[in-house]
Amino acid sequence: MTGYRILDPDGNLLDGARPRLGPEGAVEGLRWMLLSRAFDARATAMHRQGRFGTYSPVRGQEASVVGSSMALDPTVDWIAPSYRELPALVRHGMPLERVFAGYLGRGKAARIPDEVRLLPNQVALATQLQHAVGLAWGLALQRKPGVVMAYCGEGASSEGDFHEACNLAGVKRAPVVFVLINNQWAISTPRSVQSAGELYRRAEGYGFPGVQVDGNDLLAVYEVATEAVERARAGEGPTLIECLTHRQSFHNTTDNPRLYLPEGWLEQAEREDPIRRLEAYLAAQGVWDDGVRAAVEAEIAEQIEGALETALAMPAARPEDLFDDVYADPPERLRRQREELLGRAGD
């Protein structure tokens, strides 16, 4: 079971496949995937040094995240992320230095810019799906353009919020695309514990299409996502996309997968690596080789280090941050608490 596929694991085009994403687009996608992997490494290193908060690497699932988000138009469409979609956020307009600022605990510096159509990362699993549906429905009610892409994991799909959100989306034919990234693990819990059913088939019960796609195949994910976005844009309602992929790394920087990964699982997963696969394909297309790769990687390294440096120069969190965004018009008691702390913090 692999889901819909365009490329085989070695990067060969399947017979008769005609990718919708051209070589240029695919190279752009590859670049986002490489950036993602480089960010993972940098963030993990920063965490090990005690300078970064908890981080959840994207490693292994880059094609799912990048391929789906490339179907969006950042000037009208929205993303409702979970916490493992870094390259999608950056492609959508979130400045890399602000992402860094967030993990560095820089407070307000990490704020999403006003013009970026992005919801904040969500830690409470599946809750964001409900927000995404409301947002999509609200856009449609106001005849505003825009499709909302909402991400969740296969673990999160067991939550009641998943059901309520999908069901409402179906009823309202909301312009939302649910991207369920089935990376086989929810921390230490394997896919088999999450459900006895096929996850993409749940969509039928909500009255909209569900698709299972090889989440390690950028071209396939892009195509499926583009079709879903087109449907949503045309007023035809939601789609559920299940991306079959692998979490090639720890759950987050506090996790140790050696405690629970079965022998050989990681090696098997790495054999299906989405970057390797796409590189092989693009090499065969004649648009990628070690030289290009080295140049792109150097550029990415520079971009990442530059953003990190910018972030490090951003203002630190301040005690005021505890109070300033709780209410527009804070209760008197909170004002007094603020004064109490600032008097103290100023000491």
Binding site: L119, A124, G134, L141, A165
Partner: protein, 325 residues
Amino acid sequence: MAPLTMIEAIRDALVHEMERDERVMVLGLDVGRLGGVFRATHGLLERFGPERVVDMPLAEGAIIGSSLGLALSGLVPVPEIQFLGFTHQAFHQIGPQLARYRFRSRGRYHCQVTIRAPFGGGVRTPEFHPDAIEAQFVQTPGIKVVCPATPADARGLLLSAIRDPDPVLFIEPQRLYRRGREEVPEGDATVPFGRLRIARPGSDLTLIAWSAAVELCLRAAERLEEDGISAAVLDLRTLVPLDVAGLVAEVARTGRAVVVHEAPLSAGFGAEIAATLQEECFYSLDAPVARVAAWDSPYPTGPLEAWYLPTLERVVEAARRTAAR
């Protein structure tokens, strides 16, 4: 305006805001065709159409969660939860989501959402329908908690709630929905948050309440007058923001206070009032702040509620005891 019942005042506020601001919409269970199980939204569907008056699938989490998203899209949703007890099904979407979205997004987003929900006892409803769980929402910073006790306040506070850029939990005492009528100011007559109402002046003792318990306290004050005890009655109107200054000024004057609520005693909002008063006017208190509340057991069904809820006798007795100390 002709005198209105509380339910009429609420409906009038909804109509007024929907006329005034086309972003305002109502959504919930049975709010459309039926006009709500208490008729709070009666006639709205016909007037504003099915895009602004929305019957929802039966899922409180989706009602609140999608309201959050609707607010992000630029609308001003006024979701109704059929009974406050069923906010529990959406608890994870209220305190940790709706209330915190401004904070989480570092001010990038805010949620102009007013959740309306009836609650309170005395009308023999089934389980969960009367549960008074308001204190649980005071522990979730970012949301305001508003609890009118009269038709005029219901209208004025609801206008303020809908216009507030932040989420508001607006809880309505079902027992008082049709209890009586009063003159209700028209138009844009908002009632501000964080200012308590002196429902009845008095000099010996202060009774403190909100929602339906205000009416109980007024009856108790009358009874106490017969004993020669002059009891003031304060209606808090909003629990968040809490009018600490107003409370302190009033109680410092009498030196004696009794808080009355329909929720169980332990960790009810009465505890916050008593704690605040002893902190803020310790030296003016001549007696401990007394609490009269429901017992620490679940809300019962059937005839038991008469023994469960605070009664006139219990309030009067606590007041007498407090006045005598």
